[in-house]
Symmetry: C2
Subunit: 195 residues, 2 copies
């Protein structure tokens, strides 16, 4: 039936396809096995449970998002305030684009992320660390007022919740959303500069 040996990555990809096609509620392990042309027992050789399989899917998705983000931000010769603005607007743009391009798929990944909150929490922690590094840079160079970079990174992230948290995805289709995020960003950057 299959030439290549069945491996975890192949199964995860097939699961993504099935999720895309059937949605989170009706995507079964049997569907995944069918898509791969194997019995469902074989899937259970690589993943202990349906939950574990779905966790692998959301983990790979979030890692990809974060990869996109780090790549887009690797731009030299930008002062910390501009770098922070760039990071955050990119963060917004990546999420908004994914949510708008394929709302059903985005909704599916929201369900998976909610199912596996530990994976989501790790993702958020990694994003927070990106912010923290820039804030620390800015303080060292005098662009930002002194303070605890980790705490301020947390504050910044919380202030932009509306623009990154998937529970606000419905609001991202408004054409005003860009102006709104710019407004909050300016307010926050001013807050970091002058304390």
């Amino acid at each position: 039936m299959r030439a290549e040996p069945l491996d975890a990555a192949t199964i995860v990809s097939a699961t993504e396809d099935v999720l895309r096609r059937h949605g989170p509620g009706k995507a079964t392990v049997l569907d995944v096995a069918r898509a791969l042309g194997v019995s469902h027992g074989s899937v259970y050789r690589h993943f202990a449970s349906k939950q574990a399989l779905r966790e692998a899917v959301i983990r790979r998705w979030l890692d990809g998002v974060r990869g996109d983000l780090v790549a887009a931000t690797r731009e030299p010769g930008l002062a910390p305030p501009d770098r922070l603005r760039r990071l955050l607007t990119t963060m917004f743009a990546v999420k908004w684009r994914k949510a708008r391009e394929d709302p059903e798929l985005f909704a599916t990944f929201r369900v998976l992320a909610a199912e596996h909150s530990a994976v989501s929490a790790a993702h958020v922690a990694a994003l927070l660390d990106l912010i923290r590094a820039i804030v620390a840079d800015g303080m060292a160079g005098g662009d930002f007022a002194p303070g605890d970079p980790a705490l301020l990174a947390r504050d910044v992230f919380h202030a932009v919740t509306r623009f990154v948290d998937p529970s606000h995805a419905a609001e991202w289709s408004s054409p005003a959303i860009e102006a709104e995020s710019d407004g909050v960003l300016s307010l926050v950057l001013d807050g970091l500069r002058a304390r």
Copy 2:
């Protein structure tokens, strides 16, 4: 069966009780009529539909919340920055308390608010106006840098989304939530002061 004549306010109160008891999914017009000791036809004399009845309930609830808020903020002799901080922390506290005291009832009202987004939008607009008035005051007195008070009020409100938007109610049970809201509030107030 009933001494006093049946009026809209009485029906709304009975509906609140039924919602409290049965939840949003299983609260029927028949239940409301039963609670009042009348036939369901009588309820339809005062409200055109079940939707209209539920809208009256959520409208009264939100008006009450806003009343509490305005009352708690009517405190003289406070500079605009402190007044703004007071308004917002009170806003948080009112919501958090309601959500923690009776999570099921809070969830019920969330459902009603989602069903009647126009009513919720009006509520938000009224809250925004409270913020705008204080920001304008602060600009007039030199506490805040000059700017468009309406736009900045919008930015401030968006920055504290996480602490007022019911979709984040689950996060409000964390003991860290107070420190987190204080952090964002300080950042935002600094932003308003020094632009």
